[in-house]
């Protein structure tokens, strides 16, 4: 999917306030978000900062999200377990999947294998994007996020966003 169409999908679901730390997998999404006045994107200095900023957005009544690489999932676990999950503050997490199927540089192999386990351990609903399910993933996670007031994760593998 073209990243501009991906951004349109986010907009369609009212997801326009984001913070994050870059990953090359979603570099085009970042470019398009930053060029679109309908979005606000705040470049955090670390992923926990991004989660906090999104929590502030959510508390302010804005449907908020973060864009992070899975290497940064470890940096948000305390925020998820002692802020979002217990205060019931929703956040739409778009997490890129480095280390997918063990094919990547060494620093990504462990989190590549364990990311979904970490999410399951925290009972955080997640879905993985494929070529044909972008709309469905965003739509279903949106509904889950709104009804359960929980963080949700949409996992993005390499090569799916142009």
């Amino acid at each position: 999917m073209k990243s501009i169409d991906f951004c349109a999908l986010l907009k369609k679901h009212g997801l326009t306030f984001f913070s994050g730390v870059p990953c090359s997998i979603f570099r085009n999404i970042l470019i398009d978000i930053e060029n679109d006045a309908d979005f606000t994107y705040i470049p955090a200095v670390r992923e926990d900062g991004a989660l906090g900023i999104a929590a502030g957005g959510s508390l302010s009544g804005k449907r908020s999200g973060i864009l992070i690489q899975n290497s940064g999932l470890g940096n948000v676990i305390n925020g998820l377990t002692s802020l979002n999950l217990i205060y019931k503050i929703p956040v739409f997490m778009i997490i890129s999947w480095r280390g997918y199927q063990g094919k990547d540089a060494p620093e990504h192999i462990i989190m590549g294998a364990e990311m979904t386990n970490f999410l399951e351990t925290m009972n955080i609903p997640y879905k993985v994007f494929e070529e044909d399910n972008f709309e469905r993933v965003i739509s279903e996670l949106s509904v889950t996020m709104d009804s359960l007031k929980t963080p949700v994760a949409a996992i993005l593998k390499d090569g799916l966003i142009e």
């Binding site: 705040i42 200095v45 502030g56 925020g79």
Partner: protein
Amino acid sequence: MKKTDAIDILCKDIPVDAPILCTTGMISREVFTANDRPNNFYMIGSMGYASSIGIGIALNKPGLPVFVFDGDGSALMSLGNFPLIGYLQLENFYHIIFDNEVYGSTGGQKTISSDINLADIAKSSGYRFTYKFSDPQELAENFRNVIKNKGPVCVLIKVEPGNLKGIARVSYTPEEIHKRFKSVLK
């Protein structure tokens, strides 16, 4: 200056509709005891998140002055947010650091803030105004004017270590804190 006296001084002058993000630990409990309002967001975990939550609110509620009550420990933990706050030049951001140079909630272990100046760090990070108070009289006389300034403002308040004996925990559940806070955030 006792931390609880500093909190009393500040709460007199902070506008009634201003949100206050209280960091985890004693500070939340002290603000809850001294001046509980729905606009107070009491963090009971997620140490270091107060300033980033404050950033998110300040950006979305530009008409409201947003107050972050950090301790020296939580400020040190989230030092990376200082330059971000400076970079964003948030005009409605008021960062208060109650600096007792210890981790008050875990047994009073020393932090390193005795040897470094967090207000200087805020200044170099691009905060528009930074202040340091250690005298309660000066704080009482000046705080109202300090917060009239355009932000981001950092106010470092040196306070004595030590906790109020038997101070209560925040009695609301996290969900209640969230609900109350969100309902008054206009």
